[in-house]
Every structure is written in C-alpha cells, then in structure tokens.
C-alpha cells in the first residue's frame, strides 16, 4: 500500500496492488455531518479524473464525489449500503467508497501529498 494522495475536493486515493482505493477525507466527513446514504458507481463503469463518480448524502446536503484519477470501477464498498456511518467513523479505512483499475499512474503522482493537503485545508479557514 502506498501513501495517500489528495484532491482539492477532499477525496483521497491510495494504490493497493493494481487498484486505486478512493474515499473522502476526515475533513470532508466532518463538514458533511452524519452520512445517511452513499450512491456508488457500477462495477465496470468508467470514470474520468475530475468527473462525478459517486454521491455522498447527509441529512442536509448531498455532495458529489469526483474521481481523483481516471479508470474503471473494479469494486465498490457494499458495506456502506447497510452502514453509511462508516464514512464518518473511519473515513480513511472502512469508509472507503470504490476501487479503480487506474489508467495512468502519473495522474496519481501529480496529486497533492498529505502535507500539501493539510496546508490546503488550513487555508480554507
């Protein structure tokens, strides 16, 4: 497993073998409040970097989750259907959203690292 990279839309991605695991950050889940539902992409669906891949809903808001990198959806986190609260409780682990077979590793390399992301979040305030 590699370290995580981040987007300005508060998604994280890490590589796990030939798959990329994607979720939303702790900052994102705290902004959203209690997650009540997650709409995940279909397996086999192609997503493009920067385009909408999933939707995460709280009671008062629904936010698009954009694909940090391009690829084909290989797995989705079925456990979120029964227990969307995992996104709040463990956003970096059990609260993962979906896994992609990524097109281009360079897209991953070009994303913010953890330090850069923390600086970015600090600037939001």
């Amino acid at each position: 497993m590699t370290e995580r990279r981040f987007t300005e839309d508060h998604e994280w991605v890490r590589l796990d073998g030939d798959l990329a695991v994607i979720g939303i950050t702790d900052y994102a889940q705290s902004q959203l409040g209690d997650v009540v539902y997650v709409e995940l992409p279909e397996i086999g669906h192609r997503v493009e970097q920067g385009k909408e891949a999933a939707v995460v809903e709280s009671v008062k808001a629904a936010s698009e989750v954009y694909a940090p990198i391009s690829g084909e959806v290989a797995e989705v986190n079925e456990a979120l259907a029964a227990d969307p609260a995992k996104v709040n409780a463990d956003p970096n682990g059990e609260g993962w959203f979906f896994k992609l077979r990524l097109d281009d590793p360079r897209e991953f390399d070009q994303l913010m690292d953890e330090a850069a992301y923390q600086r970015f979040v600090a600037e939001q305030h």
């Binding site: 409040g33 209690d34 009540v36 539902y37 809903e57 709280s58 009671v59 008062k60 969307p84 609260a85």
Partner: protein
C-alpha cells in the same frame, strides 16, 4: 456529532417544567396521540352508508382478493384524533411566523366561506361550459386583477404552485426560442436564488450558471453581463431578492438581457414587497410567476395546495399552456386544444383548468383590499420588516447595511465563539412560543436568519418578538450555550433524529403481526 445528538446529551439540563412526569405521558393540553392504525376497531365505521341490494356486478373477475388493511373508527374517535394532532402545530392563527420568503400573512376566513359556495365548489371542470358562465367570469376577473397589478398583457393560470409556475415560464421561454430557431443552452441564476430556480432550469434542459452576489447583496451586474452571450436563454431573477433587497440595477440588467436576445424571468415569490407600488412590466420583465399562497393570502395548509399563475409579456403569450380563457362572440369560452389562436401553446401542464379553489380565495382577498389596500399591504410589509431590522441590528448581525424591503437578512456572526449555531438559536426561539425564521437560506451568507413579518402583524406583536430575540441574543453571548443546544424543551417533541430517519427510512406504518395481504 450532529445537532440531535447534542440535544440528547444535553437532556440532563432540562428544567423542572419539562420533566414533570405524568402517568399518562400527557402534559396538560398536550396529548400523546397514537396513529389511527393503532386505534382500529375492526368492522367499525364513522360513516353510515346503506348496503346495496344484491346485484350482478360487472367487475370482470377483478374484485379485490383480500383486505386493504385500513383501520375502523367512529366519528368521535376521528374528530378527537385530528383535533389532538392539530394542537401539536404552530400556525399563523396562533402566532407570528417570521419565515422569510414564505409570506405568512393572515388567511382571511371570508375566503374560506366564498370558496365553499356550492356554485363554485360543487361544479365539475368538464360539465358544459354553458352551465358555468360564473366560473369563467371569476377566472377572468382574477386574470384582470393580476394582469393589472403586474402590468403584463397575459397570464397563464393553470400551474399548481410556484415551482410549477417557474416550470411553465421556462417552458414558454424555450418554446419562444425554438420558434425563433434560436435554441440556447444556458440559464443564469443568482447564487441567492431559491432552489426551485436551478431545479426548474435543469428540468427544462438548460445548464445553470450561478451568478454571485456583490458586496451590497444584489446580483453582481458585471459578473452577470460577462456571462451573457448568444447561448443564454434566460436570466431567472427574484426581485426583491432573497436577501430582502430590491435589485436596484434591474432595469439595466433587463436591457442587457434583452440585448443578448435572452428572456428575463422573474421569480415573483417576493411580490408582497412591491404590489401596487411597482409594476413588473415596467422593470423589463418578460415572465413572472406569482404565488397566490404567499402574496394573495391563500392558506399554506401545512404544505399546499398553492397556485402559481404566470404573467407573460406579449412575446411569450402565444406559448401559454392550455386551457386558455378567451373572450369569444358569445362571451367567455375555454380553449382546451391547440388550435386557432392557441396553436403555439406549449400544451397542458396540469389536469383540468387550474386551482379554482385558490382563485376564489385570492380574488376575495384582492377585492377586500382593493387598489388602495394592496398598495398599503406592500408599504406595511416593508415598514414592518425595517422596524424589525432597526430593533434587532444591534443584537444580530445584519448581513447587508441599509434599508431592506419586506424581509431582513441576518447571519450568524453574532454567534461567533458562543458554541451556538443558527439552528440552536432557532430552536430556542421555539420554546419562546415562536416558529423560527427561515434558517440557512439564502446560501450567500453563513448561517442565514431571514425574517419576514408581513403586513398583518401589529406593532405590539413586533415589539414583543423583537424583545424576545434580543433577550435570546443576549443570553447567547452571555454563554448560555447549554440552554440553546438542548432546545426546544417545551414542545410536543424535542429535537428529532433526522439521521436515523434518513439511514433507516420508515415511511409507513406496518402491522406488528403479519396480516393476510391481497393475493399476488
């Protein structure tokens, strides 16, 4: 942790009054009431109907196979049930409802009486037109009043509510553009707009360009004009806007929109501020919906029914939805199909003719006020809102300095460092006996509190309200966070777990023991 959990954990700070236990669970006039399904007397009925003599049915074997599962109750039980339910509600009749953008004015009872006249309530939309000349006359009279007040030459009366009226307006705009063979793809919508605006534009196949507000709370004219182009179909603007401010550059904006070949749609939800003092046609508006359940006093009814007629400029009138009310040789007539002068109509948006019950109420309201009274309505609405602005601006954070129109916008800066949110503040207001103001709308300020008193509040009512809000603001700054976070304490229910409701949706009652269902 969400707001509900905080309210739950703050339960231990509840006052003595709230925790006085009773054997029944009731608290004085506040009665705990089960669902009707939990009060079933099987076979019982609250309506006495004769049993028909035996006959040969013609249902072709499609009779229902099993029970429906409805409970049986007598009339006294039903009356008691719904009476008790009503006692758990806030209402305009009971108190000030300062909901910005909703215009919660008094609902005159004369309107209710007249809407129930058999000659208006007991007529069918498809009985021969020759048997309902008075109905057509009433609709025509309403149309005349609304056209005169808006200055527009045409009005579509069928939309069922404001959002439906927005859809109607945007459809006529798209039809007009198609007729000009000039299809355009974009609609400009201020960021402060009500959610129905972008939802409507998207529903009509347009992409939505949000336009930011300027520092004065009006739509940023430069940003707007920069977004205008040959592919913009329309601007959807609310005036006065959702911050309660008159868009003072509206005439220039209208001109720019027209120069770009686009249409100017006005969301008329806030017409109460300007009725009788400003004519929308004079502002360059092409298309404007009205909310009869806001400006024209038809009752909100706990969520409808409403009515959303759309005033139309001459350029859009040919596309108005069916049916049309026309002045024919033999008097008023209904045109229900696309032919003759209605050939270009966009078609039907709703079954039958429109919300006649609301037409009667709105007309009674308008006639009661008259031209002079309606102008006074706008003036008193604006006066009341500004009076509250001045009383409260020292305690709450006024979002935009200077006079407002019929509603005043505050934000949550005054709650900084108190650990109290706009939501908590609103919930504490509930314990004081008031329905809260509109919260978190418009989105252009943080933690919005939008207050619209309307013209039917007395000065004394406003003074009382302002005193309570000031006291709460003081308590908030003095560090009484626990009180706010636990609120409300004195209501039939305390804060409800909306997260649970959304995670495990329970949208209907189900019997505890399985019942025989209809055969599949």
């Amino acid at each position: 942790m969400n707001d509900w959990s905080r309210a739950a954990s703050a339960g231990s700070t509840a006052g003595a009054a709230a925790s006085a236990a009773t054997f029944s669970g009731n608290r004085g006039l506040q009665i705990e009431e089960k669902l009707i399904f939990e009060q079933d007397s099987p076979g019982h009925c609250g309506v006495d109907l004769p049993e028909p003599a035996p006959f040969d049915g013609r249902l072709g074997g499609l009779e229902r196979q099993g029970p429906i599962g409805l409970p049986g109750l007598s009339e006294p039980q039903v009356v008691r049930h719904f009476t008790r339910l009503s006692q758990k509600n806030c209402a305009i009749d009971s108190g000030l409802y300062p909901l910005g953008s909703c215009t919660m004015k008094h609902n005159p009872r004369l309107n209710e009486k007249l809407a129930r006249l058999p000659g208006l309530a007991d007529i069918h939309p498809l009985q021969p037109v020759s048997t309902v000349p008075g109905a057509l006359e009433l609709i025509d009279t309403l149309a005349h009043w609304l056209k005169t007040l808006t200055g527009m030459p045409a009005i579509a009366l069928s939309p069922g509510a404001g959002a439906h009226g927005e859809l109607c307006g945007m459809m006529t705009i798209r039809a007009a553009l198609e007729a000009r063979r000039d299809p355009r793809r974009r609609v400009l919508v201020p960021e402060s707009a009500h959610g129905t605006n972008p939802a409507t534009a998207a529903a009509c196949g347009y992409s939505v360009d949000p336009i930011p507000a300027n520092a004065r709370g009006r739509v940023d004219r430069a940003a707007l004009e920069a977004r205008l182009g040959p592919d913009v179909a329309a601007l959807m603007l609310t005036n006065p806007n959702t911050c309660g401010l008159f868009e003072d550059e509206i005439v220039e904006i209208a001109a720019a929109v027209h120069r770009a070949g686009a249409f100017f749609y006005c969301d008329g939800a806030n017409f109460n501020a300007i009725v009788g003092r400003v004519r929308p046609s004079d502002l360059g508006i092409d298309c404007m919906h009205l909310n009869l359940h806001k400006t024209f006093s038809t009752p909100h009814g706990g969520g409808g029914p409403g009515s959303g007629p759309v005033a139309l400029a001459a350029s859009l009138a040919p596309y108005a939805p069916l049916p049309w009310l026309v002045h024919g040789e033999n008097g008023l007539d209904l045109v229900e199909h696309r032919r003759g002068e209605a050939l270009a109509a966009i078609g039907r948006l709703k079954g039958f003719h429109g919300q006649m019950g609301m037409f009667v109420r709105a007309l009674a309201y308008m006639m009661s006020h008259g031209a002079d009274g309606l102008r006074q309505v706008a003036e008193d609405a604006v006066l009341n809102a500004n009076y509250l602005r001045v009383l409260l601006e020292g305690d709450l954070s006024l979002s935009f300095p200077g006079p407002c129109m019929h509603e005043v916008l505050f934000d949550d800066r005054f709650l900084k460092d108190t650990q109290i949110t706009t939501l908590d503040f609103a919930k504490a207001l509930i314990d004081e006996g008031y329905h809260p103001m509109t919260m978190y709308f418009p989105l252009v300020v943080h933690g919005a509190l939008l207050i619209e008193p309307t013209e039917t509040e007395s000065k004394a009512a406003l003074d009382e309200f302002a005193a309570v809000v000031k006291a709460l603001a003081g308590a908030a700054r003095a560090g009484a966070a626990a009180r706010f976070r636990a609120a409300p304490l004195l209501t039939p229910r305390r804060r409800l777990d909306e997260t649970l409701a959304a995670r495990q949706p329970l949208l209907r009652w189900r019997p505890v023991a399985p019942r025989r269902e209809a055969a599949e």
